[in-house]
Assembly symmetry: C2
Homo-oligomer: 121 residues x 2
DNA sequence: TCAAGTAAGCACAAATTTGTAAGCTAGTTC
DNA sequence: GAACTAGCTTACAAATTTGTGCTTACTTGA
């Protein structure tokens, strides 16, 4: 897991291994990762296509998040040695298992938005 | 939603309402919220009890996160006018719907940890 | 010769999140 | 009347995350 590369083993165990939730959030937390996974749910996408689908993400963040997802086993990255370069990203079996969860979260998000609106009115 | 209190309506819509995932992450993202919700899954807990169950959280963060969860409709906060003070937190119908999702995330977290171990070996 | 196209890298700055340490409250007990 | 209690607050500091702007590499077409 990218986040823990520099940690002592002991510290690593206190952090992630003790609590599965913490380890989950290390992997899909942050501002962009679930959104990226959401878009990769059912398509193989190139870097530029992901950028179009997530207009507000910066190039740097997209690169960075994709690399972390890759090293956590959630996406594969395929580089085609062409010019101009072509790089494709796709989900893995591990992230496929996340799919129903992401869908449920998405549905729940709608409900939550409704709640917010009812409070704001 | 606490995060958006200061935003213009327009900006709010671009952020959360456009993408349910973003709105979900606003609500359960961060280092502690799912963990708190996890512990409130099936018990009503006092502030101090939550602290014991989440040893590494600081008082400030626990207060802060609970208040945000409250204003997002995910926990209720009941103050008993006693001395010393007693405050109880419990889940709401809205966060109860999150429960199966949290359970699934938890299971998935185990798998993910196994993957990590197999890569680190 | 020069721009366009694609995926990235870097140094640095801004923003956000989290942590530390102290203080406050108002009754209750010693 | 000092100490204790549970929950909270505030000012400030540190850490982490995210964003900005500029640069690289290579080829094609104008």
């Amino acid at each position: 897991m990218s986040k823990n590369n520099g940690l002592e083993k002991e510290e690593f165990e206190n952090n992630s291994q003790a609590c599965p939730m913490t380890s989950v959030m290390n992997v899909i937390g942050g501002k962009w990762k679930v959104i990226i996974l959401y878009h990769l749910r059912d398509s193989i996408l190139r870097f530029g296509e992901l950028r179009k689908r997530i207009p507000k993400i910066t190039q740097k963040m997209l690169t960075q998040q994709l690399r972390e997802l890759e090293s956590d086993g959630l996406v594969t990255r395929t580089v085609y040695p062409e010019v101009p370069p072509r790089v494709e990203y796709q989900s893995t079996p591990l992230s496929d298992e996340l799919r129903p969860i992401i869908d449920m979260l998405c549905d729940w998000g709608q409900k939550q938005q409704d709640y917010i609106r009812s409070v704001d009115e």
